[in-house]
């Protein structure tokens, strides 16, 4: 019925739609038609993308925006991003609810001897960063390990820094365990435990 009315008036779908929302059924057709024109004009007055060229540009933007909205979270599922759930709308996911413990160890070399020591994270960084290390954020891991590599060699030169994460899943079972290391010679973050 609504569609028939639109066709009968020969107006744009927008103007017809605008009228049909509120127009009382008893109003004479001429009055309704006049109102339709007014409503249409009012609608278009606020439309900055009314002309076809602006609308084409707007459509390009819309397509890019939607592609971004769809692709960004897909990176998590298709890109094997593991613990890094940013930009993927995984609030309160099972990964977010993992309970993890982080340890960072460094290997120091002095006079040909190598020894290992734990990094006191509480003294090293603000406590919120420890939370992020426990969530396995690669950017934070890389920065912290590089920073440890760059520390003054008062007790020996740091040759390698290890990152170790162990997690418990929400159901109490063993969760993922993550190991990274950085050789201070090249300062590249690598997976697994490396030999110093």
């Amino acid at each position: 019925m609504a569609k028939k009315k639109k066709r009968d008036r020969g107006g744009s779908a927008e103007s017809a739609g605008a009228v049909e929302i509120e127009a009382p059924a008893r109003e004479p057709a001429a009055e309704v038609s006049a109102r339709a024109t007014v409503a249409s004009a009012a609608v278009d007055r606020f439309n900055p993308f009314g002309d076809p060229r602006a609308q084409r540009l707007a459509n390009v933007f819309i397509a890019l925006f939607l592609a971004y909205m769809l692709a960004m979270p897909l990176r998590y599922y298709l890109g094997g991003r593991g613990l890094d759930e940013r930009f993927s709308w995984r609030m309160f996911s099972s990964v977010r609810m993992l309970k993890c413990k982080v340890e960072v160890d460094e290997h120091l070399e002095r006079d040909g001897d190598t020894r290992e020591r734990k990094v006191n994270l509480t003294k090293e960084v603000q406590v919120a960063w420890i939370g992020l290390l426990e969530r396995g954020r690669p950017l934070v891991i890389e920065k912290l390990l590089a920073r440890r590599c760059a520390q003054p060699a008062d007790q020996g030169a740091v040759v390698q820094v290890d990152y170790h994460l162990t997690c418990v899943a929400p159901d109490g079972s063993a969760g993922p365990s993550v190991d990274h290391h950085m050789k201070c010679a090249d300062r590249r973050l690598a997976s697994g435990r490396g030999e110093p």
């Binding site: 927008e14 605008a18 606020f46 909205m69 709308w89 609030m91 509480t122 003294k123 954020r137």
Partner: protein, 506 residues
């Protein structure tokens, strides 16, 4: 695509959303986000959300983070008062996005969502209060006496509705809802609904329609967000009910429901599994409802109305429920309730709700118009802008946070630059000046009335103390004492640090 993204919507929807969202954003930045600023730059460590940003930005500090938030809030509130300027909305988008992107310390996904929303808002229709609710009494000379009387009646009822709604919203904001989140929400929402039905006047026979793709695109974006949140919950650990029990205080809050389910023969694990799994179709339905909401004003139908009404209920269950579970998600629930109110409620109701903003908006517009007419010329405009710049600096000084004064200076200079551009184009800039001064005043009120400065100084001091930076910790604790709420003094900590410092000196 044209019909879906360029179709019309009720002007009051985007108007109400835009104004309230910008207000929420400013208050969120000032009264909540600043509290965490003490983490920024601590121990000289930072990692941004993006490698390229790390490469180009200096190390963020508490002052730079606070500065970006204060400036973003000021711009947001100024835009709320003056109306949309696409260029300045884009600047706000950049400022806000930089606030969270500068450091992984802010990993709240809802801050990313706010950026997505701001990106769509750049393309919202530019609407004034008069556009949404055209003034009834203006041009009254030509009207019949009865019609004029009716218009006066509408005007008066509108003001009564504004006053009642303001009281209800103030009560909702002021009452501590800790253990009665649903009760407070339903009491306030019920009272507001009663006011909409019985007090708010119907302004026009048919609500004004507007068209700009930003509104429709935002609806589609919310749909995608809900789709992915549902997808994230399809893993076996979630559907078995293990994950949901770890969220906030859910396990304790729903202990009664578990007992109730057990009385009906379900095991606790079955209950949690069912409870968790039900969230998935709920979120999928919400996703579909937002698409329906976008087309609803153009193609009204009972089916779309029914879908949107069900989504209102589900939205309340999800987002007021999130508040009841004490999730640490800032004001995300309130942002989402604003989405639900403006997208999912019927247009006639939203049009009446918008009176809360359009009536004061029209009143202010009338006063400013009259002022500009009565005192034309550049001199009063320049004096107003300079006075406003001074007010911004004064407010920034009294905010008493690192980076505030520099931010005030930047805002004052930006205001003067905008005024210069306006004058060069023959536009009177005094409403920009007044709006910025009002925003600065509200910034000071929001910060002074909230515990944000206390949070900032005590969190910072505690962290410095932990890392052995005792002098700086003492300074922060002592500075924060002036903002300590009754009974929360850190005097014992201050004394302990002083003793440690004395021992160290010996």
């Amino acid at each position: 695509m044209n019909e879906l993204f360029h179709g019309p919507h009720g002007a009051s929807r985007s108007y109400l959303f835009q104004k309230t969202f910008l207000l929420l954003l400013a208050l969120d930045a000032w009264a909540l986000m600043i509290g965490h600023a003490g983490r920024y730059g601590a121990a000289g460590f930072n990692a941004a959300h993006f490698d390229w940003l790390d490469a180009i930005q200096p190390l963020p500090t508490n002052a730079s983070y606070i500065g970006v938030l204060l400036l973003g809030g000021l711009l947001s509130l100024t835009l709320m008062i003056t109306g949309i300027s696409r260029l300045l909305m884009a600047v706000l988008l950049v400022l806000y996005t930089y606030a969270w992107a500068m450091s992984l310390l802010d990993s709240y996904q809802h801050h990313y969502f706010v950026s997505i929303t701001l990106a769509c808002m750049v393309f919202f229709p530019k609407l004034s209060a008069r556009d949404v609710h055209p003034t009834e009494i203006e041009g009254g000379k030509k009207r019949a006496a009865r019609e004029l009387e009716r218009a006066h009646g509408i005007e008066q009822r509108g003001w009564v509705f504004c006053a009642l709604a303001a009281v209800i919203l103030a009560i909702y904001a002021a009452v501590d809802s800790k253990d009665r989140v649903f009760t407070l929400f339903f009491a306030c929402a019920g009272a507001l609904a009663a006011c909409v039905v019985w007090v708010a006047p119907k302004v026009a026979a048919q609500p004004v329609m507007a068209r700009a793709f930003g509104w429709n695109l935002l609806g589609a974006a919310v749909c995608i967000v809900y789709l992915y949140t549902a997808l994230a919950k399809t893993d076996p650990t979630w559907t078995a009910g293990h994950t949901i029990q770890r969220i906030g205080s859910v396990k304790n809050d729903l202990a009664w429901a578990v007992e109730w389910a057990e009385a009906f023969g379900l095991t606790a694990q079955q209950f949690w599994s069912l409870f968790a799994t039900v969230v998935i179709p709920q979120e999928l339905f919400m996703a579909a409802a937002y698409v329906c909401a976008v087309v609803r004003d153009r193609e009204p139908s009972k089916l779309l109305d029914a879908i949107c009404w069900i989504a209102v209920g589900l939205g309340i269950a999800l987002h007021v429920g999130a508040e009841a579970m004490h999730l640490e998600i800032g004001w995300f629930s309130h942002y989402m309730l604003l989405f639900a109110a403006t997208y999912l409620l019927p247009l006639s109701a939203v049009d009446k709700l918008a009176i809360v903003l359009t009536w004061p908006g029209r009143f202010l517009l009338q006063r400013v118009d009259a002022w500009e007419r009565q005192a034309p010329g550049k001199v009063p405009a320049v004096l107003t802008v300079l006075g406003s710049a001074g007010a911004v600096l004064a407010a920034a000084y009294f905010v008493d946070l690192p980076g505030a004064l520099a931010t005030g200076a930047i805002a004052a200079m930006a205001l003067i630059a905008i005024a210069g551009v306006c004058l060069a184009r023959g536009i009177d800039p005094r409403r920009w000046g007044m709006a910025t001064a009002c925003a600065a005043g509200l910034m000071w009120i929001a910060i002074a009335a909230s515990p944000v400065r206390w949070d900032y100084y005590r969190f910072r001091a505690g962290d410095l103390d932990k890392r052995g930076e005792l002098e700086a910790a003492l300074e922060a604790y002592e500075h924060g004492e002036r903002y300590a709420p009754p009974g929360e003094t850190r005097k014992p900590k201050i004394d302990a640090i002083r003793r440690k410092l004395e021992q160290r000196a010996r």
